[in-house]
Amino acid sequence: MNNPDPQPILEVQQISKYFGGLTALDKASLAVYPGEVVALLGDNGAGKSTLIKCISGVHKPDEGVIMFDGRDVGHAPPAAIREMGIETIYQDLALAENLDVGANVFLGKEVKKRLFGLLPVTDDDYMRTEAAKVLDRLDIHIPSLKQKLVSLSGGQRQAVAIARALYWDAKLVIMDEPTAALGVPEQRKVLALVKSLREQNIPVIIISHTMQDVMEVADRMIVMRRGKLVANLPRAEATVDLLVKHIIGATEIET
């Protein structure tokens, strides 16, 4: 944002998605530039989740193109998209709570070593050390990295999810309701993490219902309504009042 890059890292061009007779996305377009936090707002069913699922490869758009880092990723499988650097942190966090921090950061990409130079085993110490490093980068301190996630707090789990994204050199982080279901101090922590991602020049798309969160961290607000993008406002121009009007469609009636 301080150094506006003319090249967007992500460019969603006119994508549509239909579920039977329902139009979940209606020619939605969106661009995200390096180092900016973009908030995605909208009422339930406005198409926010469908949009991010298309970006992360969970859904395939029926029409339109998604360009990421100069490549068309509209039809790549989720694993390939993750490989390219789009990390999505879902509301339910997508963590295995029965495993420790290291195992979660490296889930699906376990680092192996050879036992007796022969048998491939998971290198748990290495994974824990690496996880600790990236948590340090985020200024997160977890008492013991051997703890299972189930014994960590909601905010710490959120931090683990973000740490995972960061570790795998995410070029874009998508967060779905990251502060939902968290206590107030934990919400603060997560917003601090979002800012910390921005400081590291990693763009973030954040879906949130909490206006205060959005106003605090987002550089740009995008409002969706009925599958369409209805507003795209820089923070300077956005007010809670205006955003709410866009969300509930009051601006459509006025004009």
């Binding site: 989720p78 694993a79 993750r82 999505t88 879902y90 339910d92 966090l93 997508a94 963590l95 295995a96 709570e97 029965n98 495993l99 420790d100 195992a103 889930l107 699906g108 990409k109 376990e110 192996k112 036992l115 048998l119 491939p120 085993v121 998971t122 200024d139 997160i140 301190h141 977890i142 008492p143 013991s144 051997k146 703890q147 299972k148 189930v150 014994s151 960590l152 707090s153 905010g155 710490q156 206590g183 107030v184 101090p185 919400q187 603060r188 922590k189 601090a192 800012k195 205060q212 605090e216």
Partner: protein, 401 residues
């Protein structure tokens, strides 16, 4: 997963991030939660936690001690050998079942898969040797067929569960019926396929009843096989120090424990049981993994079926039927959660040994063997309660933080 137990007990440190304290910037957030004192886990919790980890071991040791004092003839190498040999069936089934249950599934079909495999093994051996094939090739081909046929229900279970998304309970219950029917059809409705040529049976016994190491009174130690020309007394007092079925199963236990605890495959097994969706999103091929796990489960049953033929020189459709629920019980007693995500091979082996020791011990004490069902039932319930205490302790710690 051993490390978790200790780690969980460390005192929790509250996270304080300077950036998180500027709460006056947002008015409604200014009512910050009151500061909590750092939480330390009490000694009592520490003790309870340790007990939940090791109670099944203590129970097994206690059980052995009790029967050794109360039952005459229980405490002997010969009896321990018999317990281990008879325990191989439950252990084998429990090994596969552990993987399945850690993923949050269950495999009800393996009991009859043991039978199917034993029937096919016995039948192939019988028909080949009757058809003039040499003893050793006949046995080897029988083993291969016995193992291969077991893979079929495993593959089908896996596809039904992983790809068609049929709940494991239903899919494997269906397979339970199918395999049962198939096994009896292959014996033409008989309870046993036993009329294997005696030359073949002699070789089968060498493995099934044999031992790597014998201790024989007035003779000494013997290797590999039982020396001929032993007196009746010597035969009666003969000690099998390392029965082949136990050795074979011991090797399989080590392999399975290694795979589960140390490899990427094991890690993914836990991950799927903890959060299958997370595993999928992390790029793990969950459905392929599940299919592999049901195949492993069936393979263990197949090995048990083949072993049955070696031990009894016959195949029987109902060879593993009674051991099915015992295998599930063994896994649960061993601390594996039926909700998935938790469990260890060592626990399941201990669980299986508890059941095997009970079976023999009650007979020696001259208590009706039916009591075994009652006792095992009680232990299962205790095991589940212990599991709940464990997760209660974990959750309580999470809320403190």
């Amino acid at each position: 997963m051993n490390h978790h137990s200790r780690a969980r007990l460390r005192p929790a440190v509250r996270i304080v991030d300077p950036r998180a304290i500027d709460q006056d910037r947002i008015p409604y957030m200014s009512t910050a939660a009151p500061a909590q004192p750092p939480v330390t886990i009490s000694n009592r919790d520490r003790t309870i936690n340790l007990l939940t980890q090791i109670w099944s071991w203590l129970f097994l040791i206690g059980l052995i001690a009790f029967f050794s004092f109360a039952g005459e003839g229980f405490f002997s190498i010969r009896n321990f050998g018999n317990i281990l040999v008879s325990g191989t069936l439950i252990i084998l089934m429990a090994l596969g079942q552990t993987f399945v249950i850690i993923t949050g599934g269950i495999d009800l079909s393996i009991g009859w898969t043991v039978g199917l495999s034993s029937v096919v093994t016995a039948r192939v051996m019988r028909d080949l040797s009757d058809g003039g094939v040499e003893v050793i090739p006949a046995i080897l081909i029988g083993v291969v067929f016995g193992l291969l046929v077991a893979l079929i229900p495993g593959i089908v279970n896996g596809i039904l569960i992983a790809r068609i998304r049929i709940p494991p309970f239903i899919a494997t219950l269906g397979m339970f019926g199918i395999v049962r029917g198939a096994a009896f059809l292959l014996t033409d409705g008989q309870n046993v396929i036993g009329n294997i040529d005696s030359s073949v049976r002699d070789v089968l016994r060498l493995v099934g009843n044999g031992s790597l190491l014998y201790n024989i009174p007035d003779f000494g130690i013997a290797w590999l096989s039982q020396p001929p020309d032993l007196t009746r007394e010597q035969l009666r007092a003969l000690q099998r120090l390392a029965p082949y079925p136990v050795l074979i199963v011991a090797v399989i236990i080590v392999i399975m424990a290694f795979v589960l605890a140390r490899t990427q495959f094991g890690r993914h097994t836990y991950a799927i049981g903890g959060n299958a969706e997370a595993a999928r999103r992390a790029g793990i091929n969950v459905s392929r993994h599940l299919i592999t796990i049901y195949i492993i489960s069936a393979l263990m049953a197949g090995i048990a079926g083949v072993l049955h033929v070696f031990r009894f020189t016959a195949g029987a459709p109902q060879a593993g039927e009674s051991a099915l629920l015992d295998s599930v019980a063994a896994v649960v007693i061993g601390g594996t959660s039926l909700f998935g995500g938790e469990g260890r091979i060592s626990g399941s082996v201990v669980g299986a040994l508890i059941i095997a020791v009970l079976g023999t011990g009650l007979v020696i004490l001259n208590i009706d063997a039916l009591w075994q069902f009652v006792i095992v039932g009680c232990i299962i319930i205790v095991a589940v309660l212990v599991n709940q205490v464990q997760s209660y302790l974990e959750n309580r710690q999470a809320h403190h933080e």
